[in-house]
Symmetry: C2
């Protein structure tokens, strides 16, 4: 079944954290936010150890341990940034010569192009893969032992690596963060965050054995009944949205695959958990 552009009824007796606008009806009419004042996580290739030094304003890295996707909660000071930030490619990674920002022949967008060998350096969004692990009507959450969002709860998730499938990557992240071996059951959600060049792919999964324990990036791991999920202490907007959709589906007895985008709301404080919109809501 397909329902498009609908309001997500994600309240469940708590103040609605999400506001879903029926914005999307194709290329011409779609509308989404590009906020310039938010320090929301950036798709920068900055290793964690440097996030607290020179690059403190850039809270996102691109796949290493100690790095994290979707950094829009638990943030500190706001930093004025361009609408969409990308890691700056100043030098060609093939020949080491400088790049310049030009529109290549036959293209429409400005790209970094090597001034010597002519190589065009394309930059594309990254996939974040994770598991929503079900066990005895509860779900597995991990309390983060790393910044950003230290001490807040999340689903086990991380950047997809070259050479693995999304399902394999989600299972790997669950093993790394919760020491839990899981069987991936079904795709559950894709949540795009265009502002930071990320796309979350979340799978439902089950524990192969009833064992889990915190990995190096987690303070602790625990199973939560759906009514006990700590929505005020979740690490990322993507996790809030995923869990709200999962609760809704579970209570209605109709588990679907969800696609949506998460966009920071204009003027919202970066630490405001209500400061985002869920747009382009579609499902299977």
């Amino acid at each position: 079944m397909m329902l498009r552009s609908v309001h997500l009824p994600l309240g469940f007796g708590v103040s609605p954290l999400l506001r879903c606008l029926p914005r999307f009806s194709g290329l011409a009419s779609c509308s989404w936010s590009r906020i310039s004042s938010s320090p929301e996580g950036l798709p920068l290739d900055v290793p964690y150890s440097r996030q607290h030094g020179v690059f403190r304003a850039f809270r996102m890295s691109s796949g290493g341990p100690g790095t994290s996707p979707d950094v829009d909660a638990a943030l500190g000071s706001a930093v004025a940034l361009p609408a969409i930030q990308m890691p700056k490619i100043c030098f060609c990674h093939s020949c080491g010569n400088p790049t310049k920002q030009v529109i290549p022949d036959g293209e429409k967008k400005i790209r970094p192009v090597c001034v010597v060998c002519g190589k065009i350096h394309y930059q594309n969004p990254k996939m974040v893969v994770g598991c929503l692990v079900e066990h005895n009507d509860k779900v597995l959450l991990c309390k983060r032992k790393i910044e950003p969002s230290y001490g807040l709860w999340t689903l086990p998730a991380g950047f997809l690596e070259i050479g693995e499938s999304a399902a394999e990557g989600a299972a790997r992240e669950t093993l790394e963060e919760a020491c839990a071996e899981v069987e991936v059951l079904a795709p559950f959600a894709q949540l795009d965050i265009p502002r930071i060049g990320q796309s979350y792919i979340i799978f439902r999964a089950r524990l192969k054995t009833p064992h889990f324990s915190p990995g190096p990036e987690s303070l602790k791991c625990a199973l939560f009944a759906l009514d006990d999920i700590p929505f005020d202490s979740l690490a990322f907007s993507s996790i809030i949205v995923t869990l709200k959709m999962y609760i809704e589906d579970t209570k209605s007895g109709n588990l679907k695959f969800h696609y949506c985008t998460i966009n920071k709301r204009p003027g919202a404080s970066p630490s405001d958990p209500r400061g985002f919109d869920v747009d382009q809501c579609l499902h299977s």
Copy 2:
């Protein structure tokens, strides 16, 4: 509804092009192919204009026009290649100094790391987004005007750009390749191709007006009834799989969201349209 690890009944009176193995049951037991002898498309940042010159063996680029995802059909000579190819990052794009291949502290994998500034250069899979456009019980296909797979049919699809959602990217590609304005209706499939570091995200869509015409990358565009789809002239394995699943769902009256991986079969010729397996089959 969830069905995992099942055989996809994708015959429809033609020789089965797909063989689906029920391989996936989680991290420990999953199995997938890494083929070293196939020239299947590589996730290299090689602009199209150079694919026929110095880099002819590398048939894949990463997002520019004239480039293409999933190159495993219509290929010429086989070239011996490592199991998983990535663009070689020889120089740091931040400071231009050389990189070395090392395992960074706290990590498990070899990464290119700058010998001067210490920057770690992560490499992640790329998302390919496209539309399965429905119109009067037909679907829209584009005949490729560019290599690879010149003259073969495909769904409009291309690399997702930074700053756009997958649905927006899919609509953009449809506008570029078929001059068709579409409304995206529902997510339909995710098809990972780990060997080449790509993940296809395909949406069902409808024409906003009944107009389309070939864009710069297409020889022509046409609507095909499901029984008339030219399976012997499709450009990519991902398109074969998507259309087979769509036909199956449409004829059963049960449109679902599908997740699967596409893996080249060991020993298969790169030009063999039956030379791949569809694994990790899951759906919503």
